[in-house]
Subunit: 179 residues, 2 copies
């Protein structure tokens, strides 16, 4: 049923091996038998957390996103460490970026950030039962964290102040629940 | 107010120049004065279209996404051509991928797909007043298009069959309107 859409690998060339990403250029066979190349940014995958406080607010972090030259308001999130479970990563990133420990983590869904050129998968969790400990950002991370009410989050989206795809998905889910 | 979060460019190295993306590794100064590197995937930007038919359905396209090895159900979308306006790109991509011409295109919002490592910006439009002409996919694009009812779209999201971030945002907007 879907075979007429599929592409198959002929050869792969590793172009770059970095701290966060790798880049491959693969030669593939198209459904019509022709060849083309596909540029693929390899990413270890990531977690993002809808962190709801006891008061019913949402924790969002502010950080400078160098690629877009923007101070961005986002869900706490981060990439998976090697051999780390998804839940451990979600617990760890929440603690590092917000200072809060979660008693309960529930998977909401997962999705691909930009499947046209990257394999990055984002695992979205909702965290509840939060207790504050202290922020523990990575050495090259500079992050502010604050709690926002539903009205504040709504106003921020309407004002175009939330520009990050995973955060828009998380906010929609937080405000409206499961589709 | 945000200066304590900002990073400034020291030097930029162009690592790869491809058909769809470029890759730079920039050395930057962190807020604390230290240096680090940032890997940045440069992308021309893209448009995605919430295409609502006269019958009140949503047009979604099915295509193989090689980076994630998945036949993916998505909003019609595509990257900007050089010197093309956003509206022209939205009109063109809708026609190419679905075969429909739009009488009315309205900007919904824009967002960054994955601002941690790429500058890709996605401009989301809603298209109405659709009339069918014929599909005109690019030479290396193999795409199916179909119309889905609200109930079908809802069921697809619940079943985890929609895995693409921009499409989830578009579907939330289509089902629930502006936040």
């Amino acid at each position: 049923m879907i075979e007429h859409l599929m592409e198959t690998l002929i050869s792969s060339q590793n172009v770059f091996d970095g701290r966060m990403i790798r880049l491959c250029v693969d030669t593939v066979r198209l459904p019509d038998g022709k060849e083309t190349t596909r540029e693929v940014v390899k990413h270890p995958g990531a977690v993002a957390i809808i962190a709801e406080t006891e008061a019913g607010g949402l924790l969002l972090v502010t950080q400078y996103r160098y690629p877009v030259r923007l101070v961005s308001l986002e869900l706490p999130a981060g990439k998976l460490d090697r051999d780390e479970s998804l839940e451990s990563a979600a617990f760890r990133e929440l603690l590092e970026e917000t200072g809060y420990r979660a008693q309960q983590l529930t998977k909401v869904m997962d999705f691909y950030s930009t499947p046209g050129f990257s394999d990055e998968i984002m695992h979205l969790y909702i965290a509840r039962g939060l207790t504050f400990d202290k922020m523990q950002p990575d050495e090259d991370e500079f992050i502010d964290c604050r709690e926002y009410t539903r009205d504040e989050v709504t106003a921020l989206v309407r004002a175009g102040q939330i520009k990050d795809a995973k955060t828009l998905i998380g906010v929609y889910h937080w405000l409206y629940g499961d589709i």
